[in-house]
């Protein structure tokens, strides 16, 4: 695929990035503070997420991994300002989130439903920019650049349903890129594509981060994906859901599907997380 050419074939085995300085709230771009979300149910209230803390620093990829039904999507919707928190808060750029913040762009899981079938690829990517009152020429440029960034420069005039699933999700990523957010939220973005496409899209994310230095918070249920993509992995678990563990991934920035996943450090982290999740489930 297009991006594999720009992803270094051999990952340099540099030492880990500077050690994690967790707790440095002021340096965080996005900060979740004691977030609790509960729903009314016939028996009273059910708490889905409880007292959850999370920081994302600029340029970092934070992955959130947890078993299905752990309230990952609920958490992401609270961060995106699509759901109000029951207590606690989400802070972006120093301001608490009360509605969808302009610093965030969301890539939804279901690509086939998140793109408007009546708009061409170009107009899908352009729509949020029209809302932001970006001037016409600038809009055109941004759309063209964003589509080129995801390797879809040639599809601008097509409609989403003429593209494969993986390509549709690339369009959704291009839409997020063109919006020029400070951080991108991704909700299980590759859960519904085949394995090869999934690997390609994971590498696209790493490649985009290398080239554009974007900040990403990505939710997944796939432990391999969480470790492969993340600088920090946040493991969720329990009922209600809390942060079970926060792990720094010492694999550097140059990663490769074949070699990185064979590294002892990768295997150790994956086994560690899997064991933890299994224990939590039993």
């Amino acid at each position: 695929m297009a991006e594999s050419a720009t992803t270094p074939a051999v990952a340099a085995r540099r030492p880990a990035e500077p050690p994690d300085t967790a707790g440095e709230r002021h340096s965080a771009l996005l900060s979740v503070q004691r977030l609790t979300k509960s729903y009314p149910v016939p028996e009273g209230r059910r708490t889905v997420v409880e007292d959850l803390d999370l920081d994302v620093r600029p340029g970092e990829i934070v992955t959130i991994v947890g078993p299905s039904g752990a309230g990952k999507t609920t958490l992401l919707r609270c961060i995106a300002g699509l759901l109000p928190a029951s207590s606690g808060q989400v802070v972006i750029g120093g301001r608490p989130v009360t509605g969808p913040p302009e610093q965030l762009a969301v890539v939804f899981q279901d690509y086939s439903r998140s793109l408007m079938p009546w708009l061409s690829v170009r107009h899908n990517v352009e729509l949020p920019l029209r809302g932001k009152n970006v001037p016409r020429d600038e809009r055109r440029r941004r759309v063209t650049d964003a589509l080129a960034d995801v390797g879809l420069g040639h599809t601008a005039e097509q409609h989403p349903w003429q593209l494969s699933g993986g390509m549709q999700q690339r369009v959704a990523i291009a839409r997020a890129l063109a919006y020029r957010p400070q951080a991108m939220l991704m909700d299980e973005p590759f859960a519904s594509v085949d394995a090869q496409t999934r690997a390609d899209l994971e590498d696209l994310v790493l490649d985009l981060r290398q080239r554009l230095d974007i900040t990403i918070l990505l939710v997944t249920h796939d432990i391999d994906e969480a470790v492969y993509l993340g600088d920090t992995v946040v493991v969720l678990g329990g009922r209600p859901t809390r942060v079970r563990e926060r792990l720094t991934v010492p694999l550097g920035r140059d990663r490769d599907q074949a070699t990185t996943k064979a590294l002892p450090e990768f295997v150790r982290l994956r086994t560690h997380i899997l064991t933890g999740i299994r224990e939590g489930a039993s």
Binding site: R113, W118, L127, H159, Q162
Partner: protein, 271 residues
């Protein structure tokens, strides 16, 4: 795949073929009617030849300006008002669910009152002029458009709505680029129903109180015992209804091009 592509962009030859499929039965019926009624002596069922002659005499071209154009003008005005109000209010009720729930009993009641029942009131308030007919058509055609718009808006995918919200798409752009196109397939269905209701109402209102229009012409012919002309009027009405339906299908085809093409693509992917 090739067959479906052909369906989207038919060749001239194929279009003639399709026209043939649609046309053979009407043509056959016309011929059968012509032959069977050829020697008709019945006062009420004149021969088709007589009817066609009467048709040429009364409708071409004098009847068109005298009766058809006023009818179509009123229909267009009433239909336009119904569409604007129906889509407008439908958007509001579809988006603001609480308001929709609050108004639904009143709307259900008003919808249950047939437009023809309002004719005496219309005559009383507006007389026998155009405004009475336009008001009646607008009233009758309003309901299907309103209800399908509400359904269409509520049926828009939740993910699409989330996208619009999370990317802070402002209300006006959201209406024009997300809500209206998303609800368009349903709205068009409502408009098509409303169009045929509108034709019924216009004829009825012209029969009840008018000095012009197709309905008026048919009734006058009957009262004057010009039975062939009465039949010719009915024939004219059928032709007009058919042509309007074709025109509307053309409009629908344009507006919903993405929808048709999407379904073709999905079918092709499955087969």
């Amino acid at each position: 795949m090739a067959r479906l592509a052909d369906d989207a962009h038919p060749s001239p030859l194929r279009m003639i073929g399709r026209l043939g499929v649609e046309a053979w039965l009407p043509v056959a019926l016309f011929v059968a009617w012509w032959v069977a009624s050829d020697s008709s002596q019945s006062l009420y069922f004149p021969s088709l030849q007589t009817i066609v002659e009467a048709f040429g005499r009364t409708w071409l071209p004098a009847g068109i300006t005298e009766h058809v154009l006023p009818s179509l003008g009123n229909l267009a005005a009433g239909f336009a008002i119904a569409s604007a109000l129906g889509v407008g209010l439908g958007l509001v009720l579809g988006l603001v669910r609480r308001l929709g729930a609050a108004l639904s009993p009143i709307l259900e009641f008003m919808r249950a009152v047939p437009a023809v029942a309002l004719l005496p009131l219309g005559l009383l308030l507006l007389g026998i002029g155009s405004s009475m007919k336009i008001a009646l058509i607008a009233y009758a055609a309003f309901w299907p458009i309103l209800l399908t718009t509400v359904d269409g808006v509520r049926g828009i995918d939740a993910t699409v709505q989330d996208v619009a919200r999370s990317y802070r798409v402002p209300l006006r752009l959201r209406l024009t680029s997300v809500v209206l196109p998303g609800a368009a397939p349903q709205i068009m269905t409502g408009m098509r129903t409303s169009l045929s209701i509108g034709i019924t109402v216009i004829v009825f209102s012209e029969m009840a109180g008018s000095t012009e229009g197709i309905g008026y012409a048919i009734l006058q012919a009957q009262r004057g015992f010009r039975i062939a002309e009465m039949w010719a009027g009915m024939l004219a009405l059928g032709i007009i209804g058919y042509l309007l339906n074709i025109a509307f299908r053309g409009l629908e085809h344009r507006v919903l091009r993405w929808n048709r093409a999407m379904h073709h693509t999905m079918l092709a992917a499955r087969s």
